[in-house]
Symmetry: C2
Subunit: 202 residues, 2 copies
DNA sequence: CGCGTGATTGAAACCCTTCAAGTTTAGTGG
DNA sequence: CCACTAAACTTGAAGGGTTTCAATCACGCG
């Protein structure tokens, strides 16, 4: 009994902002929904991409590529997350980041004007959206704090606690990239933790 | 010819959102302004502090203290910046961060409800505020990307480019803390850069 | 089955930290 | 205005956590 496209987005809005049926009926006709395949690239550096994605199902990833060709994952975007390049969406300038698809996904494509429109239709959405932005800032600050202060091991432990399900859906080397360490280091950290765990049991 | 208290906040709002005189007159009576002295602690871990600060003049700092007693600076807040614990302000939960005063400052103290009030008075403020939040997120993402990918030297170079005036107002060891390196490392980085610069000149 | 991708492991190298000492700077009170 | 002290910055040597590079192993998929 799978939900229709847009239904999940609706559920989300209702939950977060108490969106009413009437409001939803006004919004619905303009929603742009898109099915995207694993591996697809949605945003790439150099171009301005003035849209956000809301992930109904699946998993996206927001990352940069340094001059040595190494990837650095700034954010994962699983179900019920927004992701997008704020550069393009709000300043119209080209982005320096990539967004691509880690699992076959369905996303809702929103632009700045559409969000403003929902906000004018639904004041409660407006408020909820601001709360979301504040919360996003909070999470980013915590992440920065972690990158400033934590060792590889601490980073990994906090990651598996915060995003237990992602550890199953994402290859290890991507988690390493998210944590700011190499895949080799993560592998060693995991081995060390596993050994400690075993020793404790005996 | 110094500006009165609140005038700078007003200038800011006018510039960012085209606030009108009438709107300002409605907001003004409720503004809470505060003079704070260098060294004063405004927020500390364990308590919930549901306010934001807008810095009219001076410099604040938002940081954490790890279990070894080391400080990690998440954000500087010079003139025209907002700073506050999003935990307290939006969830009512206790914070894990400190905010203290680096230079004698005048700040405006805002709570969530006050911001909502300004937003209901001035739609343009509402829009501007959302833009500010988006921009803040953008900056935090860039910072994360830097912490994930850049060496000590690259971090410092990007810092002095982004915040040239802060390098004069903030002791070096705090910049090191912001960059996620030790003061000693920063000192060595600076020496190396200075030597390179000299060699280039000859 | 074989290929490619991801995970593991080892050894060496490297960047940064740590610790300790010395130098400079800035602030304060006599 | 100098003297004194504390804080900030510098410098060196040793150490440690991570990275790098290379090789090997494990697994899924065409």
């Amino acid at each position: 009994m799978e939900k229709l496209q847009n239904e999940l987005f609706r559920d989300y809005l209702v939950k977060k902002s108490g969106l009413t049926d009437v409001e939803w009926q006004q919004i619905l006709p303009e929603l742009k929904c898109r099915e995207v395949k694993k591996g697809e690239v949605l945003v790439e550096p150099g171009v301005s991409f003035p849209y956000f994605f809301f992930v109904e199902k699946g998993l996206l990833r927001f990352y940069s590529l340094d001059k040595d060709g190494k990837e650095h994952i700034v954010q994962f975007a699983p179900e019920n997350w927004f992701v997008g390049d704020r550069n393009g969406a709000y300043c119209g300038t080209p982005t320096e980041f990539w967004i691509d698809v880690l699992e076959d996904s369905t996303v809702i494509v929103l632009d700045k004007y559409f969000i403003e429109k929902i906000e004018s239709i639904s004041p409660s959405f407006r408020k909820a959206n601001e709360g979301l932005l504040q919360n996003h800032i909070r999470l980013l600050q915590q992440r920065i704090n972690m990158l400033l202060s934590a060792t590889a091991e601490q980073r990994y432990l906090s990651f598996i606690q915060l995003y237990p399900n992602l550890t199953l859906r994402v290859p290890q080397w991507m988690i390493a990239s998210y944590l700011g360490i190499t895949p080799e280091s993560l592998s060693r950290v995991r081995r060390k933790l596993a050994e400690q765990y075993k020793r404790k049991k005996n």
